[in-house]
């Protein structure tokens, strides 16, 4: 099973996975991990006395299986805390909160402004990342499965959208704007209407993730996370990666217990 807290502290080393999503957690070509998740994780590990972090970069859809298969001890991808996932893995308290967004081709030729557009117009195709929560949103909004293009990685979205293989990429607002910055062929859909699902606007809360059974590590991280969140550096990290003040404030609005028990 996954390394226990004691083992980690004894070795002074922990394996943390990211899914190459700017700005949540990614590895630059030199191998350095950046993003809201990794930066906060570094602060937490410092508090826990773990000196060495071994960063693992993997596909988003491999994060949960990877935890279950002990390929890493912790995930710092700001994975949204969802009831389904809570049954598979453990989540820390929320570290971030974020809303949804849409990446479209430059000039938004198909005039897309909401996730519900894909349900209303069966001509439109939308890309989602394998394993991401946007799938569930699309399904709940009644989007036809045939109009979903499943891509393996965030960065593939630029090509997918710019070439018209999909008309838009559904992702969090920060992901979308991060991608839009990288390439002139794409932009963030303006006047975006947040999806309303089960009567509520969608907002996601992201946290660190652990293999089930590793409550000890989760609890230690929670404790350290609370300390980090109390410092001004925490908000700076988040805003430095483009999170708005309301995103920062939002992170305190829900507890993991509530999120896991939702519905």
């Amino acid at each position: 099973s996954a390394a226990s807290l004691a083992q980690i502290q004894e070795q002074g080393s922990i394996r943390i996975a990211v899914a190459n999503e700017i700005p949540y957690g990614y590895v630059d070509p030199t191998g350095a991990a950046l993003g809201a998740g990794p930066d906060v994780a570094k602060a937490i590990m410092e508090k826990l006395g773990v000196e060495n972090i071994e960063w693992v970069s993997t596909n988003f859809s491999s994060l949960i299986p990877g935890l279950q298969a002990d390929r890493f001890d912790m995930v710092a991808a700001e994975m949204a805390i969802l009831p389904d996932r809570c049954q598979q893995v453990l989540f820390s308290e929320p570290n971030t909160s974020y809303g949804e967004g849409l990446l479209v081709a430059a000039g938004n030729p198909k005039d897309i402004h909401a996730y519900s557009d894909f349900a209303d117009n069966p001509e439109l195709r939308v890309a989602i990342m394998a394993g991401a929560d946007q799938l569930e949103m699309m399904q709940k909004l009644g989007v036809d499965e045939a109009n979903l293009v499943t891509i393996a990685a965030n960065a593939d979205a630029i090509s997918t959208v710019a070439t018209g293989r999909a008309d838009a990429y559904a992702a969090t607002s920060l992901t979308a704007s991060g991608l839009a910055d990288q390439n002139d062929g794409v932009e963030v859909a303006s006047e975006f209407t947040d999806p309303v699902i089960d009567g509520a606007e969608v907002r996601s809360w992201g946290g660190f993730t652990f293999a089930s059974g590793n409550e000890e590590l989760r609890d230690a991280v929670n404790e350290a996370l609370a300390e980090v969140k109390a410092t001004p550096e925490w908000a700076e990290i988040l805003t430095g990666y483009g999170f708005t003040q309301s995103d920062v404030d939002g992170s305190a609005q829900r507890t993991t217990e509530e999120l896991c028990a939702a519905q």
Partner: protein
Amino acid sequence: MLFGYEWDLSSPLAFAISILPILWIGLTVTIQATVLGFLVALGLGLVWAVLKAAPSRLISWPAKVITEFIRDTPLIVQLFFLYYVLPEYGIVLPAFLTGALGLGIQYSAYTSEVYRAGIEAVGPDQREAARALNFTPAHTFTHVVVPQAIPRIVPSMGNYLVSIMKDVPVLSVVTVLEVLNVAKIVGDRTFSYLVPLTMVGALYLIMTLVASAGVRLLDTWLPKQGIPLK
């Protein structure tokens, strides 16, 4: 839920049965990609074979280098190239076409060798006999060389057809929803990979056994009257 089919996680068997229709959809894509890729490999391979046999080195040499290059580089990278690079030059192919084309290109390097070997196996004496009878080169090729080359070519081509089928899962990297990709998505959504992946393995085993048997059958059906087959 995928493609409108719900899965039933109550037991492995129930799960397996409930995802059969989903895998079937992936399987049809696998078969389509196999057939289309094979056709491209057959056509393009013939082009390479003709170019490689060209009397001018200016033509034959580049053809040889290109086919060697194709043969020595991984399909997955070739697919990435077709999928992500071509659009930068204005050529946007749908994922399925990209995949089938990539398969066809990769295997054209192999099939061109099959053509070459098949044609070379028809000895010079046959060409000389045809020339002595005043056949035109085109008639010699179509009526003397090709009919004798076909029985030599068919079994190897059949084997490549099976190989192409086994390479179709690589097309998942460019979002083609072939059977492995579908199974993987089922796994991603249920967090249970064992049943769908095992089923794909079993399906593949059945398909290759059937296809190989088909190739052997075809081979025994082929007329080969006295054509010396090595």
